[in-house]
């Protein structure tokens, strides 16, 4: 075996091992990305739920009814006598 052949064999072996490790690395990163993406989706879901909850709770009709019924509030008149 000449020197050239030995070097070539060595290079083949090294690249083979490197390829395996790169594939493994790629899969690990994919897992990380998958998790992050799932988290992003979960957060987006929660965000839209919260937006919805907030706007439902602060709906003008609801606030109006609560203020009038539970808190006994009323709209001020221009001139009003307080008792």
């Amino acid at each position: 075996m000449t020197v050239g052949q030995t070097v070539l064999w060595g290079a083949v072996l090294v690249s083979a091992v490197l390829q395996l490790s790169v594939v493994t690395w790629n899969r690990e990163l994919l897992q990380v990305w998958q998790k992050a993406d799932a988290e992003r989706q979960a957060l987006a879901q929660e965000y839209s739920r919260l937006v919805l909850e907030k706007s439902t709770l602060t709906a003008h009709g609801r606030i109006d009814a609560l203020a009038r019924k539970r808190l006994g509030m009323q709209e001020p008149e221009h001139t009003q006598v307080f008792h």
Binding site: R27, L30, Q31, Q34, Q41, A44, Q45, S48, R49, V51, L52, S55, T56, A59, H60, G61, D64, E75, H78, T79, V81
Partner: protein, 572 residues
């Protein structure tokens, strides 16, 4: 060990050895042959089957964009939900009773349907669509074989019936069906993503093979509506429609300086979040799609046209005695004989005879041109589905009678939105095209209708309508100078105008010193003793305007009254 011990077996040994070797060699050939077969002849089939078992094509649904009001308050939001389905071939029907109970479905019914689907050889059956994610999670934790879940989106409208006509709604597949959801469907919906992945036994992605399309979320749509004013207008309109047992009603509020639509409400309304109770009558966006005869609310335009001709000013006297005139075969009447009225008085008293005389003097050409500039009889510009096109007779179609009726608002039709748009021209003489999207505000130039001076004088006249002698006193707002015009139009029935069915209209502007808001209120077929625009629509105008001006922090412009001091003294 020596060879002499078994000399006789040597021949047999060799034969056996060869046989075993041959058998092994044959096996090798068979295995090799099979290998070659698998790698060449059967390769495409096997490859495909392998792909089928590991490679999944995944669709990533795109979120539909939000619709918000001008301050970013959400009006339509898509929220993730779960769709539950079964493969009837894989599922044990008896295991479904638990699932049915948790989802509130009829267990026996569900079982029957799933078994029928199984008999028909189907491998897909919806259990329930758009389930809350938490509930779906609990159902899935039962680990029923053959039960699957897909991610989906559902549209919610937080303001529900208050905004339903303007926003419209989407169907269960998330496609716009009505209103803005339909008009801007493409803009809102975005595009789905799809990719090919390799999945392991547990459903984890271990390799991404290719991305066909990246999911792009839909765009958000920001409207010019102000949810506070929208709610206000809705509440008051609903109250008046109920108290007068009217069949319908609508209200439009515009920014007087820009034409932005601040509130757009219709009655009857519906809750877009509850699809089960939809009916077409309540889904009609009356503020945009309905045409009404504007009645007396057109008179300010006739008077403005007269003043623009240069032959009249606010103090020109018109003789309206004896309270009626005959045009062709029809008598046009006032409520009573008002005698000599100046132009202001014609508006204050809403004299049909007065405006008829003005129109006869001006002629059909100039009336038509003026009304056309004010936007009457033109198609709408919002691009809204079902937007009504007003009707306005051409000059050559107007004989003396038609001309007279047009001058006081009969024989032409407008949508409430168009009427409000026309009234923006009294702000500074220029009609502002309406806009419903914040991004479109001010894109269309305003159209000059009359001089600024005429507009100012007409505003003053409109103020007298709300004053002590006018027909619209109940539209007054304390602390502000407001102006407007009442209108009461007979509804058109099967045999011409109906005697006892009316449309009550009030169109007005506030505050007069520096107009900020235009509001049009229309109540359709009010029942009972009160049916005049000044009795039904004007009070709504007053209530909505008062609170809207306060919310927009408009400075009161009414001259200070000493009533303040009196009350303060009286209260001690």
């Amino acid at each position: 060990m020596s060879t002499q011990e078994q000399p006789q077996t040597e021949g047999i040994q060799r034969w056996r050895f060869t046989l075993v070797l041959a058998v092994f060699a044959l096996l090798l050939v068979v295995v090799g042959g099979r290998l070659v077969m698998l790698h060449t002849v059967e390769q495409p089939f096997l490859f495909e089957q392998g792909e089928k078992r590991t490679v999944r094509s995944e669709v990533q649904p795109a979120t539909r964009g939000m619709i918000t009001d001008r301050f970013g308050e959400p009006l339509a939001v898509s929220t993730p939900v779960t769709t539950l389905w079964v493969n009837p071939q894989q599922v044990d029907v008896n295991a479904l009773s638990d699932v049915a109970r948790m989802l509130g479905l009829n267990s026996a019914e569900l079982k029957r349907r799933v078994s029928r689907a199984a008999r028909q050889g189907r491998s897909f059956y919806f259990i329930k669509r758009q389930v809350q994610p938490e509930l779906a999670e609990r159902v899935l934790s039962k680990k029923v074989a053959g039960l699957y879940a897909d991610n989906d989106y559902r549209r919610y409208y937080p303001a529900a019936e208050v905004t339903s006509h303007t926003l419209g709604l989407v169907n269960i597949d998330g496609q716009g069906q009505e209103g803005l959801e339909l008009a801007f469907d493409d803009y809102l919906s975005g595009s789905e993503g799809s990719r090919q992945v390799v999945k392991d036994l547990y459903g984890n992605v271990i390799k991404q093979l290719g991305v066909k399309a990246v999911a792009e979320p839909g765009h958000n749509l920001q409207l010019t509506l102000d949810l506070r004013l929208q709610y206000l207008a809705y509440r008051e309109l609903k109250a008046v429609v109920q108290s007068h047992k009217a069949t319908a009603g609508s209200a439009v509020m515009l920014d007087a300086k820009t034409g932005e639509v601040l509130a757009l409400v219709s009655q009857p309304s519906y809750n877009p979040n509850n699809r089960a109770e939809l009916n077409p009558t309540s889904m009609r966006n009356r503020a945009i799609a309905d045409l009404v005869e504007p009645g007396s609310t057109m008179k300010p335009f006739t008077v403005a046209a007269a003043m623009e001709s240069g032959r009249y000013d606010a103090n020109t006297i018109v003789d309206t005695a004896p309270g009626w005139i005959r045009v062709k075969n029809k008598a046009i009447r006032d409520h009573r004989n008002y005698g000599d009225l100046d132009l202001t008085g014609i508006i204050t008293k809403s004299s049909n005879v007065g405006v008829s005389k003005l129109a006869q003097d001006l002629g059909p050409e100039s009336i038509w041109t003026f009304f056309n500039h004010a936007g009457l009889g033109r198609p709408g510009t919002l691009g809204f589905p079902g937007e009504a096109v007003g009707a306005m007779p051409y000059p050559e179609q107007m004989d003396d009678l038609r001309l007279s009726t047009v001058s006081y608002g009969y024989g032409l039709s407008v949508s409430p939105l168009q009427l409000a748009e026309a009234y923006t021209s009294f702000t500074d003489g220029c009609r502002k095209p309406v806009s419903l999207l914040l991004s479109q505000v001010g894109q269309q130039p305003c159209e000059p209708v009359m001089s600024e001076d005429t507009a100012k004088q007409v505003l003053k006249m409109l103020g007298t309508v709300v004053g002590p002698k006018g027909t619209g006193q109940r539209a007054a707002v304390e602390g502000y100078q407001v102006g407007g015009k009442t209108g009461t139009a007979h509804k058109v029935g099967r045999s011409g105008y109906e005697d006892s069915e009316y449309t009550a209209v009030f169109a007005g502007v506030a505050p007069l010193s520096d107009p900020d808001l235009v509001l049009v209120v229309i109540v359709d077929e009010p029942q009972g003793k009160e049916y005049y625009g000044g009795e039904v629509a004007a009070p709504v105008f007053s209530r909505v305007m008062e609170q809207a001006l306060r919310l927009r922090q408009v400075i009161p412009d009414a001259p200070a009254q000493d009533s303040w001091l009196q009350v303060a003294g009286g209260a001690r």
